[in-house]
Amino acid sequence: MNLTITQIFLFLFLLFALSRVILRFKSGEVSSRGLIFWGLLFSSAIVVVIVPELSGKIATVLGIGRGADAVIYTSIVLLFYLVFRLYVYIQDIRYEISDLVKKLALKDIDEKKPSKSARH
């Protein structure tokens, strides 16, 4: 099998990305769901890089003219999904900050008691 320079570069990059996912899963930074998602994503990208004809076959099955188009459409969908996940992640961090702010505010009230009582 003769690989072009671009294929070799993409293959090495995807392999590196896959190894990062596995290492992060081992250290607990990536959940098992994350491992499955990213693992499948990078593994299928490696397969498509090594066997580019496969993207043409997938494109035919999906009713898309060219393999390159199928790759672009899939990438756009994936990017949308990743932006969504990122948005959810940022929201979660915002909620965690709110929770901290709330706890600090309530703790502050407890420390000031009983001097501040507003019972009418």
Binding site: Q91, I97, S98, V101, L106, D108, I109, K116, A118, H120
Partner: protein, 229 residues
Amino acid sequence: MENVNLLIGIPAYNEAKILGRVLKSLPRKIPGIANINVLVVDDGSTDGTAKVAESAGIIVARHLVNRGLGGALKTVFAYARKNNFDFLVTMDADGQHDSQDLTRILTPLINKRNDVVIGSRWLKPNSAPFSRRFMNKLANYVTLIFFGISTTDSQSGFRAFNKKSIAAVNLQTDGMEVSSEIFREIISHKLSVREVPIKAIYTDYSKKKGQSLANAPNVLIQLLLRLLR
């Protein structure tokens, strides 16, 4: 009279100009209530809102950074739960609500008829600007579509909760979308709800505050996100 404790929770963000007047207008006695407590949640204000509340002898929960209406309401609910209050009323700090309506909003709770009471600005004719009227209609439809509950005022900040609902309501969102989220909580915990007419005081000051059309897309995205996540 039973020893019934009420907490009036007021989320406030940069309301130093009007907050003193709002606090002064609160009644010292309400029929059926033994103790009235007031909590102002200063949501990271930079204009001395907390000082105004403190000088009025009110309990102040200070947020170190601004978290939004939902964030402030979470603190109000947490305080009410922690201190075992019987009733909780949330009110806006911008002077839009008439404290004379407190008795009206609390009566269904005192009579044990409902768990949550929503003060609706739209059950009586009012002088609300068109943009406010339009925003509220839009928000009511969104609340109906997302949470399946029909209301005349999904964005009302004047609400009352009994002990059961104080314990049940678990808010997640930080921003203005919390107003619709409260209805989700009412539905999911099968709380009995009633709307009572309240007076809305629209001044130049209060018109500048609250929901605006510019907020609408963000509120919608937040609600969608909660469904999709």
